[in-house]
């Protein structure tokens, strides 16, 4: 066997997690791109994951149908939730959506049908790398085509000045709600994929810190375009693996070091790279050009 395919086999699960995290980062970007900070996505992810797991256990539906359900179930929650909460702006929207995420998690902890806090285990593995990256590809394609479209311009204008956007004839409520629901569907699919990739779902996997992770992926990668969030997700997901050896050599477990380093990276990006790590090549090029000019 060649070294390349050996490497691939060793890191198969890691590659899968990068794809799932990229989807989660995009789910946060969906609302962020029109200026809305929504933190309900761990809750939506949980709904998608549980819906998918339950369908796999209790029906004979093909996996494609199960994944579709894992997108539609959280979307169905997002419509009635979005209508009132999207009237809130800034930090108030963030707080209201955190509340939703916690309600979902606590409901799952107390739901006997899904084994409460223990969750569901031994879910058959139905999601492979191909499925994960196919869906990521579809999501990226959607965002790529959204840019420069009529809806894309409407979202840009809402992010820049919502009041002015309203007097341009844009139904800002509808546009924001669409992206909120789309983000919920993306998070749900990511949940459904993860459930069938790691064989288990449990409420503890969808806590507040999970949505913070998603937000960190997006911010570290850069939220100026749709390219940033997946790049940030890859960076932040691969980093702990790189650091694992380092942590052991200084006598720290991988857990604490990971938190420390990701915190430091987030801080550095926010302070020095407001457009995320995807803006780094441009910045380097600009510095080089200035030097060449003398």
């Amino acid at each position: 066997m060649s070294t390349l395919s050996e490497l691939f086999l060793t890191y198969q699960s890691l590659i899968g997690f990068v794809g799932i995290d990229a989807l989660l980062a995009l789910s946060v970007y969906a609302t962020l791109c029109c200026g809305q900070l929504s933190l309900a996505n761990a809750g939506f992810m949980a709904i998608g994951a549980y819906a998918a797991a339950i369908l796999t256990f209790h029906t004979k539906l093909p996996f494609a149908a199960v994944l579709l359900a894992s997108a539609l179930a959280p979307a169905a929650f997002a419509v009635p939730l979005g209508l009132p909460v999207l009237r809130l702006r800034g930090v108030f929207l963030a707080i209201a959506t955190i509340g939703f995420g916690e309600v979902v998690r606590l409901a799952l902890v107390n739901w006997d049908f899904t084994n409460g806090a223990l969750g569901l285990v031994a879910i058959p593995q139905r999601a492979g790398l191909l499925t994960i990256y196919l869906i990521l590809g579809i999501a990226l394609f959607f965002f790529a085509r959204l840019r420069g479209s009529k809806l894309g311009y409407a979202l840009d204008s809402i992010r820049e000045d919502e009041t002015a956007a309203r007097t341009m004839g844009i139904n800002t409520t509808l546009a924001k709600l669409s992206m909120f629901v789309f983000g919920a569907a993306l998070a749900g699919v990511a949940g459904g994929l993860e459930a069938h990739f790691t064989f288990m779902v449990a409420p503890s996997g969808y806590s507040f810190s999970r949505v913070v992770d998603m937000l960190v992926y997006a911010v570290v990668g850069g939220v100026a375009t749709y390219v940033g969030p997946p790049v940030g997700a890859a960076f932040m997901t691969l980093l702990p693996e790189v650091l694992r050896g380092l942590g052991e050599s200084v006598g720290l477990g991988p857990g604490p070091l990971r938190l420390f380093v990701s915190g430091a990276i987030l801080l550095a990006v926010v302070l020095f790279l407001p457009n995320g790590i995807v803006s780094l090549p441009l910045l380097v090029a600009a510095v080089r050009m200035r030097r060449q000019r003398g």
Partner: protein, 252 residues
């Protein structure tokens, strides 16, 4: 009457910012709205464009009452506006700002773009060239690719007018379009307003530059403390004792 206000009132707590204002704007007319600072002019524009709802009274566009409609529906019926304190989308380019203004006149479903249909591409091309010709009209075509926040003050004002014209409005509300402009720029805007009116758009012009208002407007409404104190031709309004008193104070 194209736009008719009847007994429009808007109170903020105990303050009646607009206090029973009634006047109307005819089709193709340039209508001035003047008054001392704090007279309620901007509040009135916010009421017409739907950003505020009147406490009482009615606003009609043609036969339709619009005072309870949300802003995007009012724009769809044919009213668009600029802002006294300029509200462009700062990170977007000048041409993109105008493209956003075209939102209502564009028919561009996303599925067509997702499928790479040639119709989508054609429509985008039309939208862009229309936006560019609007920028040409207001005289900032060469700045089309600049971000709105990088434009000079006068350029920003003109891009905002182009953006408001992009929805092809029946009534254009201009809130101090020449504030901060020099004499040459002011006369360019005056010519633009006249031209817009000859194309059939009505203009409601809020201005502090009284000479400009006297020059371009066919009809003037004077507001003071939220009340209409005079309404008529520029000549009549200029000689109205109530107007002179509002601007200069009473003779001792």
């Amino acid at each position: 009457m194209l736009l008719a206000l009847d007994g429009v009132e808007r109170a903020f707590g105990g303050l009646r910012a607009v206090d029973g204002a009634s006047f109307s704007v005819r089709e193709g007319e340039i209508h001035g709205l003047i008054g001392p600072n704090g007279a309620g002019k901007t509040t009135l524009l916010n009421l017409i464009s739907g950003l505020l709802r009147p406490t009482s009274g009615s606003i009609k566009l043609g036969d339709r009452r619009i005072e309870r409609l949300p802003p995007h529906k009012i724009t769809a019926l044919g009213i668009s506006r600029t802002y006294q304190n300029i509200r462009l989308f700062p990170a977007l380019r000048a041409v993109e700002n105008v493209i956003v203004g075209e939102h209502l006149v564009r028919s561009a479903p996303l599925w067509r773009r997702l499928l790479f249909l040639p119709a989508a591409r054609e429509e985008e091309h039309t939208a862009r060239s229309r936006a560019l010709s609007l920028l040409e009209r207001v005289g900032v075509r060469e700045r089309a690719g600049a971000r709105a926040r990088d434009l000079s003050y006068g350029e920003q004002r003109r891009v905002e007018i182009a953006r408001a014209l992009a929805s092809d409005p029946r009534v254009l509300l201009l809130d101090e379009p020449t504030a901060g402009m020099n004499a040459a720029e002011v006369s360019a805007v005056a010519a633009l307003i006249r031209q817009v009116a000859t194309e059939g758009h009505s203009v409601l012009l809020v201005e502090h530059n009284v000479r400009l208002v006297m020059e371009v407007c066919q009809q003037i409404t004077v507001l003071n403390f939220g009340k209409v104190i005079a309404d008529g031709t520029p000549q009549a309004v200029a000689q109205d004792p109530a107007v002179i008193a509002a601007y200069l104070g009473n003779e001792p």
